[in-house]
């Protein structure tokens, strides 16, 4: 069943980013691999494509076996933050990190540190894309695969 509840465009903003929520995968078996979440993530910045996306959907070795959603789980003690040499990553209240792009030198150590491989790279800006748990993508998942939960 297709169920899609979109906010009215003018109400949607990045304000969700400050809500103490946490993006989570609710039921991966419902995922059809449409990647609408990935497109939504880049569309926050008013552009198409995936350059700014901090979420990725891929098959687990061929679509016949289903999909996996790779996204920051908002760990309370984030390894990406610990390896950041310029302190560009700071701990978010609800877990995970916030990036200060003016401090980031684009060394990419955070990418290697994340065991989930959930730190993505923006080749154009040479900076990481890390989920801010704003929940924008959740509104575009037609099958309720992902959701926003309150922080632990």
């Amino acid at each position: 069943m297709l169920k899609l509840k979109l906010f009215k465009a003018e109400k949607r903003s990045l304000e969700g980013g400050t809500v103490a929520g946490r993006l989570t995968v609710l039921d991966i078996d419902k995922c059809v691999g449409c990647q609408l979440c990935m497109f939504a993530c880049s569309r926050r910045f008013g552009e198409g494509g995936f350059a700014k996306s901090a979420i990725r959907v891929r098959s687990i070795g061929g679509v016949e076996r289903g999909f996996t959603v790779i996204v920051c789980r908002a760990c309370p003690d984030p390894p990406c933050m610990k390896v950041c040499v310029t302190n560009a990553l700071s701990l978010r209240k609800a877990g995970g990190v916030t990036l200060n792009p003016s401090k980031c030198i684009g060394c990419g150590r955070c990418v290697d540190a994340c065991p989930l491989k959930a730190v993505f790279w923006d080749n154009e800006a040479n900076k990481p894309n890390i989920c801010v748990h704003c929940g924008y993508c959740v509104n575009y998942c037609p099958y309720r695969v992902i959701g926003l939960r309150e922080a632990r």
Binding site: L2, L4, L6, A9, R12, V32, G33, C34, Q35, L36, M38, F39, S42, R43, F45, G46, E47, G48, G49, F50, A51, K52, R56, V57, R58, S59, G61, G62, V63, E64, G66, I70, W121, D122, N123, E124, Y140, P142, Y143
Partner: protein, 583 residues
């Protein structure tokens, strides 16, 4: 990132370069509109479809990567099946991958001396040795290997051929991701002739728009329209196979090589039954919420081990159910799924394969071919095991008979007889609709002889419901209008399933929003559609096509349609009228 960059790859010299061609995209939008111009430029007159001079062209459109369901890639080439225009569309992740790699189109020419596959990462192109994966039995395995060899899972497309492509079966397909295909007209054979086993493409470019705010608003509008539409629900819930029962009841489901238009036990192979008993997963193309791709689980016991089963995911759609099911009298669900799986494994076009096998069965029944030709294989309606073996032999081509079958039904019938029941339209095998005159006029007049060119079957179905009678001229005009508009959709590379969402107003608004051309009007779009259609037919004429040579298979005027027995003269008139409009 702009759309107008074209990547040119030469397999003979193993070189590539990029050219900016804003002229092409501004005038012809993208997709099919751009691809046909590139084909006219790149394909020399009377080129050998299996020669190095035959180009493979992929093109996407200005909405790709930006709006939902602009997710198709148009492939163009000279077809080894018809010896003329080859055009096939596929989804999966192909379109978004091409666009995000930074291109609007890709042109592949030349022939490699040794097996090769291409890995395209944005502006980097690698010619990888494929000798180690050439000849692998299953197209699935090839996908698995390349998946491991290359990076960026989730952002890439993997197009590959199976053994059918390597052996240059005229209707070999190119498998995209898994379960999507450039199915029709033999792109797989063109890949094979170039020793090109696969192409993987990925990139992470951003796609910018002129007005981000307007873009987001329009995006939501289009997405809402999509998820609320009834048609979309149909494609999601049961999928195209929901057509089986209605067409069977209407007596328009071609069965047993179109000796019948309905078949006993059709409910077995209906979308409803498959969904209830076998549906294991629904899958979507990138940037499409619909998930029309239905996968059945096929559970087969191992003979040598009790309580142990092999579970395979098999894609099903209306067309393979028609061509490999009702056409072959195969209404046992598991047997049908096994045959679809074999066709998929070998990398063949399901429609052509089914129609070829249906002809072969009737020819065998009539004694035109004997067990001498079939090498002892008894072709019998409903015998799945025999058909699976026949499929493997069409690919391995152990004798002249099977090599001839591998060239398509028209070639087979010109050699062995039985042209009256060879269901070939312009050299391509018949799609699954015997609904009335408009369906067949679509197969005959459509630029690629596909039911999707102008969807005459849909017109017939409406006429059957309302009792409307149309003249050949009226049908021709309606088909011309539809095919012209579909050129616009496939230039935008919008999936035809979304045609109800992308109505002219929405198309114009979306083009303006992405900054394509602020002054574009509906008249412009209609003009571009007609011009594109004319260009395709100009290519066909150049390559020797004339509508006067079109053969009307006798079988279609013998077997009654829901709109009565068809008359050859009526159809001829329709053809004449259509091509008058094209002048």
């Amino acid at each position: 990132m702009t759309l107008d960059k074209i990547l040119y790859i030469d397999l003979s010299k193993r070189r590539f370069h990029v050219r900016s061609r804003p002229d092409l995209f501004e005038k012809h939008i993208g997709g099919t509109g751009v691809a046909i111009r590139l084909l006219l430029e790149e394909c020399p007159e009377k080129a050998d479809p299996l020669g190095p001079e035959n180009p493979i062209i992929f093109a996407v459109g200005p909405l790709t990567g930006l709006f939902p369901m602009a997710s198709k890639t148009v492939a163009m080439f000279k077809s080894p099946l018809t010896g003329n225009l080859g055009e096939s569309h596929a989804g999966g992740r192909s379109a978004s991958a091409i666009r995000m790699a930074g291109y609007g189109a890709i042109v592949v020419k030349g022939t490699s001396e040794t097996p090769v596959y291409l890995a395209i990462y944005g502006s980097d192109v690698y010619f990888r040795d494929a000798s180690g994966i050439w000849g692998i039995e299953s197209s699935y395995t090839v996908g698995r290997i390349i998946r491991e060899l290359e990076s960026e899972a989730g952002l890439r497309t993997i197009m590959r051929i199976g053994r059918a492509g390597e052996k240059m079966v005229s209707y070999a397909s190119v498998v995209v991701e898994t379960y999507r295909h450039f199915g029709r007209l033999g792109l797989g054979a063109v890949f094979g002739s170039k020793k090109l086993k696969a192409i993987t493409i990925c990139g992470k470019h951003s796609v910018n728009v002129k007005n981000p705010q307007a873009y987001r608003i329009l995006y939501d509008k289009i997405l809402q329209l999509t998820v609320k539409s009834q048609v979309m629900r149909k494609y999601h819930d049961i999928g195209t196979s929901s057509n089986v029962i209605p067409l069977n009841e209407l007596k328009a489901l071609p069965s047993l090589n179109l000796r019948q238009t309905s078949i006993k036990n059709a409910e077995n192979i209906s979308g409803e039954n498959l969904a209830e008993k076998h549906l294991g997963r629904r899958v979507s193309c990138s940037h499409c919420p619909v998930a029309c791709i239905h996968l059945a689980t096929l559970r087969e016991p191992y003979e040598d081990e009790p309580y142990f089963y092999k579970t395979t995911m098999v894609p099903y759609d209306y067309e393979p159910i028609y061509s490999l099911g009702s056409m072959l009298g195969l209404t046992e669900t598991n047997e049908l799924l096994k045959l679809i799986d074999e066709v998929e494994t070998q990398g063949l076009d399901a429609i052509s394969t089914g129609v070829v096998l249906a002809w072969a069965t009737e020819a065998y029944e009539k004694g035109l071919v004997t067990s001498m030709e079939t090498m002892g294989l008894e072709l019998k309606w409903g015998d799945g095991e025999a058909y699976r073996e026949a499929v493997r032999r069409i690919v391995s081509q152990p004798n002249e008979f099977y090599s001839t079958l591998a060239r398509g039904v028209e070639k087979a019938a010109s050699k062995y007889g039985g042209m009256d029941f060879a269901l070939s339209f312009g050299g391509s095998e018949m799609p699954g609709y015997h609904t009335g005159p408009a369906a067949h006029l679509t197969f005959l007049t459509g630029a690629r002889h596909s039911h999707l060119d102008s969807a005459g079957y849909s017109m017939d179905e409406d006429n059957a419901k309302t009792g409307t009678k149309m003249t050949p001229k009226q049908i021709a005009e309606a088909l011309f209008k539809e095919e012209s508009w579909r050129q616009v959709l496939s230039s935008l590379v919008v999936c035809f399933f979304a045609r109800g969402v992308y109505k002219p107003d929405t198309v114009l608004e979306s083009l303006k929003t992405v900054g394509f051309n602020p002054d574009i009007t509906l008249e412009d779009l209609n003009r571009i559609g007609v011009e594109t259609l004319k260009s395709k037919n100009a290519f066909k004429a150049r390559e020797g096509f004339s509508h006067k040579d079109l053969k009307i298979p006798r079988r279609i005027v013998e077997t009654e349609t829901p709109l009565g027995i068809l008359e050859e003269e009526f159809i001829r008139k329709g053809i004449e009228e259509f091509f008058r409009l094209l002048q």
